[in-house]
């Protein structure tokens, strides 16, 4: 029942797509010059640009990824919100105005403004392309995830639809249509996230979050020498058991379907089984959800409190709560989080999701996903520090964000639009905490995809709001991907072909080159989106931030603040930043898991490269610049 298709959802989605395409067609007729294609002619109002910044920045990673991460891992997901927003402080105080002063169409133009260096043009265009592609992957993955419940189509179809629409948007009108798509999407995203949050706190918490919420079975079990020998049930039949480290999972027969339970023991020594959910991948590749194909609808949406404490008393439901009160009740209560265990059973690979009642105090502080404090190893802490560093310094180094500074007419407008962006994005990020926690206790989570928590939460409040929220989420992907493809096409057609290779082109030919580049990058993005299915989009964006902060920020700050910077120093810094960050990512535990290898075998013991690659890139720009100073005459 998780993914029933709604005709309303399809109609509203089609309306959104038609509106976006119509807008692109309208602006496309007006886009004749390179300045118009790449920078909307520098004529966008700061207020519109500020909201468009929000629309550009609040990608699938924010709406789908962060909310999903909070829904599955509590406060650890909110840490991403804090880091993403803090990055805007760097953008506003250090980068916005100087970059506006230096640039023309692209981030490469700004870096190269003082030097006219082919090395900078080449390295900066490559860097723009790599960062944008790293950022594109999670957006396309998110698009695929969305289309499954919205249109009932497979993941690859969602990725392809987004790719095709975005290629059309960008290839018709470039930055102008992209700006207005992002403006509309940014505004709608914030408005409807606010409405969703009001629904959440108005509903409060309940032990049975939805009327049709699954009633998880608990069965008394007799255990002898660690083996379950008997169960007290007329319904289930004991089949087998598997022990993984200190956890025992028991297989029961449920009228012909295999069901996994977890063996528990209470303080009094009583032993019992609690119902788990399972996905079994059989030797011939078939996926069974709680013992049956997904279409049998035996795989439930989950997420509920096991104890609710409101005003010091244990209650079954709270009724409407205030915004602070909602957070406090979660902190005081106990929530059932589903943890995952993977093991082999015969020729089958079994993914068991078992109930883990967790105190709210643990949910509302770091530690469930990011291992910090006493629970963390040295490398866990390095990973945390590295992530926070990358989030802080990444925003102001993202090429698709930086190009937005060239769409406004003045430095003052660049500054004002950044403040509008910070206010809008900051407000949205506070809402992510409510949307994530709302999904965690709202009985809506799909354990197979953490990215779908917000849209599924919206569906629990009614098909109307679900349809609109899903369509906005889809528009979210469109807006961000459009910005990324504009940045990528600028890197290829403007920075590389026009400025580096010095191919002589008329203004019209430059626009055509940009459109062809947008087409090529769009096709590439579709392929990557299909290949990376299943990864949390916010985690992937965290890596994109690390690459951006390593490859671009040291050279941006050097150009702005240090007179001794040389073009060789900048080129060396960009190359070092790209290589060190990408190599660390490729050799990290998460990527090893992606390759089908054991994460513990990865030669780099942490995922996020920022802590090494950012300082390395800073050192490189300083050392190489000092070594390549022109001698005074």
């Amino acid at each position: 029942m998780i993914y029933d298709v709604s005709i309303w959802a399809i109609l509203i989605f089609l309306f959104f797509v038609a509106a976006v395409l119509g807008l692109s067609f309208y602006f496309g007729a007006k886009t004749k010059s390179a300045a118009s294609y790449y920078a909307a002619g520098g004529t966008i109002h700061w207020g519109v640009n500020g909201v468009a910044f929000a629309g550009d920045y609040l990608s699938a990673a924010s709406f789908l990824g962060i909310s999903g991460m909070i829904a599955f891992a509590g406060y650890d997901g909110f840490i991403y919100s804090i880091g993403y927003l803090a990055g805007w402080v760097v953008a506003l105080f250090l980068v916005a105005e100087p970059l506006k002063r230096l640039g023309k169409f692209t981030f490469t133009d700004a870096l190269d403004a003082k030097f006219n260096s082919r090395a900078i043009k080449l390295t900066a265009s490559i860097s723009t392309l790599i960062v944008s592609i790293f950022y594109l992957i999670p957006q396309m993955v998110g698009a695929g995830d969305l289309v499954v419940p919205l249109l009932g189509l497979p993941h690859w179809a969602g990725v392809t639809i987004v790719g095709a629409i975005v290629i059309y948007i960008v290839a018709t009108a470039g930055m102008t249509s992209t700006t207005f798509v992002q403006f509309i999407k940014g505004a709608l995203l914030i408005i409807f996230s606010t409405i969703l949050t009001i629904y959440i706190i108005n509903n409060g918490l309940s032990l049975k979050p939805t009327e049709d919420y699954h009633d998880f079975a608990t069965i008394t079990a007799v255990v002898e020498d660690g083996t379950v020998t008997e169960i007290e049930s007329d319904h289930f039949i004991l089949k087998n058991q598997v022990t993984v480290e200190d956890k025992t999972f028991v297989l029961l027969d449920d009228e012909g379907f295999d069901m996994w339970f977890k063996l528990e023991k209470d303080d009094a020594g009583n032993t019992y089984l609690t119902e788990a959910l399972s996905i079994v991948i059989t030797a011939d590749g078939e996926r069974l959800y709680n013992g049956a194909p997904r279409s049998e609808e035996r795989f439930h949406q989950v997420g509920h409190p096991s104890r609710i404490i409101h005003n010091g008393e244990e209650v079954e439901s709270t009724g409407p709560l205030g915004p602070f009160e909602f957070l406090k009740v979660i902190e005081d209560s106990e929530i059932v989080i589903f943890k995952r265990e993977i093991f082999d059973y015969g020729d089958d690979r079994v993914y068991v999701f078992y109930q883990n009642p967790t105190p709210g105090t643990d949910i509302m502080k770091p530690g469930m996903m990011l291992k910090v404090g006493d629970d963390g190893t040295f490398w866990d802490k390095v990973n945390f520090l590295s992530l926070m560093l990358a989030l802080f310094f990444g925003t102001s180094a993202l090429p698709h964000i930086l190009i937005r500074y060239y769409t406004v007419p003045s430095q003052r407008a660049a500054r004002k639009s950044t403040i509008v962006a910070i206010a809008a994005i900051g407000f949205f990020y506070i809402l992510t905490l409510y949307m994530g926690l709302g999904a965690m206790v709202g009985g809506v989570n799909d354990l197979e995809s953490s990215n779908m928590s917000s849209p599924l939460l919206a569906r629990s409040f009614g098909i109307g709001i679900f349809s609109i929220v899903s369509a906005i989420a889809f528009a979210t992907v469109l807006g961000t991907v459009s910005g990324l493809i504009v940045a990528s096409s600028g890197a290829i057609a403007h920075d590389f072909v026009d400025m580096y290779l010095r191919v002589q082109m008329t203004d019209r030919q430059k626009v055509m080159a940009g459109k062809l580049a947008a087409f090529g990058v769009g096709i590439f993005a579709i392929i990557l989106g299909i290949l990376f299915k299943g990864m949390n989009v916010s985690f992937l964006v965290g890596l994109a931030f690390a690459v951006a902060a390593s490859a671009n920020l040291p050279s941006i700050l050097a150009v702005i603040f240090w007179d001794k910077t040389t073009h060789k120093g900048i080129a060396a810094s960009i190359i070092t930043g790209i290589l060190s960050s990408v190599i660390i990512i490729l050799l990290s535990p998460s990527m090893f898991e992606r390759y089908g290898l054991h994460p513990a075998d990865a030669p780099i013991p942490f995922d996020n490269p920022g802590i090494i690659s950012i300082p390395l890139s800073f050192i490189m720009v300083i050392v190489v610049s000092l070594l390549t100073q022109k001698k005074a005459t």
Binding site: Y38, R101, G367, R412
Partner: protein, 93 residues
């Protein structure tokens, strides 16, 4: 071929003062953000302390950093605009 900006920009007389102000505000925020990271990293138990409206330090500090960014940005913009107008008037004299 050297580039100019996408749109024609006027002379920015307050550029140096704005850069200095931006650096100061950045450092203030970086210290607060850095403190949050260090507490999260090594003094996680402190984040459990209830500090405001029954909420713990983790929530209050996290939301505080988000709100503070907007407030500092607004103040920065007000001061920058005042500096620009003042120095432009002085330059015209």
């Amino acid at each position: 071929m050297l580039h100019g900006p996408a749109a024609e920009l006027g002379v920015d007389y307050a550029s140096k003062q704005k850069t200095r102000l931006g650096l100061i505000l950045f450092l203030v925020y970086a210290v607060l953000y850095g403190s949050f990271v260090i507490i999260g990293l090594s003094y996680t138990h402190l984040l459990e302390l209830r500090v405001f409206a029954g909420l713990n330090l983790a929530v209050v500090y996290g939301m505080g950093l988000i709100v503070l960014a907007a407030v500092m940005g607004y103040i920065y913009s007000l001061i920058c605009t005042w500096m620009e107008d003042k120095m432009e008037r002085e330059a015209k004299k």
